[in-house]
Amino acid sequence: MTTIPRDTRDRPAAGGRTALAPSLQKPTPKPRRRLSGRLRVLVAAAVTLLFAAPIYLMLVNAFKPQEKILDNPVALPWPPTLENLTEALGRPDNLIPLGLRNSLIVAVVSVALIVPLGSAFSFYLSRRSGKVKAAVLIALSAGLMIPPQVTLLPTIRILTWIGLDHTYPGLILANLGGGYLSFAVFVYVGFMRSVPDEIIQAARLDGASGLRIWWQIVMPLVRPATATVAIFLTLWIWNDFLNPLFILGPLQGQTITTGLYLTIGQYSVDYGQLFGIMFLAGALPVIGYLTVQKQFVAGLTSGASK
């Protein structure tokens, strides 16, 4: 939010010089620019490739047998084998399908509940006085900071008291209360600041209730916030490890993260199988990321400018 004023602050200073600029402009020789442009692409590509090496290894080696991996881990998988993938899918413990299913349930239900809760709370808050709002926001910011290890054991105890220990509802409840909710509230409060007061006043004069204004007027206006919250929380809850490991426990079936840890953590599977399993486990979030990439970056941008 502060970027906008900053830009306008900088612009006059820069703009003052614009008048001089055109006359001084010397066109850069075209060939040189193209050359440096090409060099830049090459450098950027090399750096990106190096950076992506572990992902590249996961990708190509998922389609290679063990000997070929050890022989040359960076070679392209030719001819590719699907054996690693079929073996991973055909495991008697159903690691991949069950894990994906369980993770999906937890992530989708948690997010579907956090979004309305967080947004309603933010809307309610945004209409309170500045002092109340600031105080509540400070209290909530603690939620973003507290290491989950600090609250883990008491959370399990509380769930035990209400009879939801080691259940999916219990895990989902724990997700609702912690830092995820704080994150949602922070994003929404930022966006709701930009909802014009007049619209709400007008709706109010028309006799619309608070609930209705929130759901029918505010929610559509803060859709980008909803996208940001939904995307990031889905990813974080999907990738969560500590909560499912301890709160869900071993008997309710594993999420994909704890499933990987509990089944292949302990003795050496061959690399081909391991990469095959990792490939399958990682494919879904990556596909998801690729489809909503624009909103993803938009979400981060709004975060970075706040």
């Binding site: 939801l164 220990d165 301890f246 008997l251 079936g253 302990q266």
Partner: protein, 425 residues
């Protein structure tokens, strides 16, 4: 107007859904069956199939019991059992745990002693304050030193070393030939501690069988001169370069492969390693007890066994029945002997009765159990009164890993004494 009930319905629906997917998975007693949870652990030899088969066999003998298997994420099933206990889901049956960790809080139920006495060669092998929490179905030697005969010959070593001096000499010869003398799976804490278990068992417990009882009585300490001197032998091995420099990065499972494929000449490990000796090259492997200064044989012995029963099990009687059936099932024992190198301890049965085919190195190693020799309770592995206090195993393992890189033996031993003090407080 229309939206409000819709929203309410959505929220209600989601809550109902979460409730439904929670309740659907629990319980599991459609036909009056008792569902019991059973904590097991997987190793390269005790794989998922072994557990499933053995559970199926024992379930067939105990009608009305349904077993839900829980697999520990590492071989440290004591740690995982505590973790489960702490988060309120202590299993009903627990395979090969250390009972002393749990009896303090009254978490375990002992087995019927007449049944134990009637069925096992050493009924008191696992006895803890007079009670038996784990049927002593089999025993182990932790560690023995396994060696590669061909590599020994290559290095010009004619016989398996008996004394510490001969052992060092063998190491030196191997190293001179460019052969890595001793394999160590140091990334897994328990495996990292094997040489230390051997040294302390042989040099300290071999001379004073009551050392651990004395330690409990505070009459001796780890920081005592004799222990420090013994542990310094481990430093000698490290500083002489008799382990792979990167041994702390080698996982236990990898250390087995490295040794059996000839990457190292010797491998101090619990006798369960015998199950991993490759059948086709078995004749190439031999074993000897951890060497002592004098060459006298000391056998670090562990009365291993099957499963403990939770005192809070849903149905302790049925749980005990299942435990008994599992423990006496010769098929389970056969699998344990063949794949996990277990030395069977069931009364009135010889190896032949199990119908097993075992390697020569297994027979030679097993012989130490029957022989009349100096058996001590292997430190850190005993499941009887000589078990370490709860939590001390971790400290012991950490010391073993630390001493791979640090020279301060006395300091590490003092830390063990401190940890002991905290543990028994």
């Amino acid at each position: 107007m229309i939206r409000k009930p819709l929203l309410a319905a959505c929220v209600a629906g989601l809550l109902a859904f979460t409730a439904a997917c929670g309740s659907g998975e629990g319980g599991g007693n459609e036909s009056g069956e008792t569902a019991l949870t059973y904590l097991v652990f997987e190793t390269p030899s005790l794989d998922a199939k072994f557990w499933d088969d053995s559970i199926a066999a024992a379930t067939a003998q105990t009608p009305g019991v349904k077993i839900n298997k829980i697999v520990a994420p590492s071989t440290d099933r004591d740690g995982y059992a505590k973790q489960l206990q702490q988060s309120g889901q202590f299993p009903d049956l627990l395979q090969s745990i250390t009972p002393s960790n749990f009896v303090g809080a009254g978490l375990l139920k002992p087995y019927d002693k007449t049944w134990i006495d009637a069925n096992f060669l050493l009924p008191s092998a696992n006895s803890l304050k007079g009670e038996v929490y784990i049927p002593p179905t089999n025993s182990q030697i932790v560690p023995q030193v396994y060696y590669n005969k061909k590599l020994f010959t290559d290095a010009g070593i004619s016989a398996a070393p008996k004394t510490w001096a001969e052992f060092l000499d063998a190491c030196a010869k191997l190293k001179a030939k460019g052969i890595n003398p001793i394999e160590l799976g140091g990334a897994d804490p328990f495996a990292a501690s094997m040489p230390l278990v051997g040294i302390i068992s042989a040099d300290i417990l071999g001379k004073n069988k009551n050392w651990l009882q004395n330690r409990y009585a505070d009459k001796v300490k780890f920081a005592d001169q004799d222990v420090v001197a013994a542990v310094s032998k481990y430093r000698t091995l490290v500083t002489s370069g008799y382990f792979d420099k990167g041994a702390l990065g080698v996982k236990y499972a990898d250390s087995i492969t490295r040794f059996t494929t000839g990457k190292s000449a010797m491998y101090p490990m619990g006798s369960w390693f015998l199950g991993s000796v490759p059948k086709d090259t078995a004749d190439n492997f031999g074993s000897f007890p951890w060497p002592t200064d004098s060459g006298d044989v000391v056998v670090p012995f562990v009365g291993g066994g099957s499963m403990a029963i939770s005192a809070k099990a849903k149905d302790t009687a049925k749980a005990e029945k299942f435990g008994q059936a599992w423990s006496l099932n010769t098929k389970n024992l056969k699998a344990l002997i063949e794949t996990d190198g277990a030395f069977p301890m069931i009364k009135g049965k010889t190896l032949e009765d199990y119908g097993v085919t075992v390697t020569q190195v297994f027979k030679d190693s097993y012989a130490y159990v029957g022989q009349d020799n100096n058996k001590v309770n292997a430190i850190g592995w005993a499941t009887n009164d000589d078990a370490l206090p709860p939590g001390l195993n971790d400290a012991f393992y950490a010391a073993a890993q630390a001493l791979f890189t640090k020279d301060d033996v006395a300091g590490e031993m003092r830390k063990l004494d401190d940890a002991w003090k905290t543990a028994v407080q």
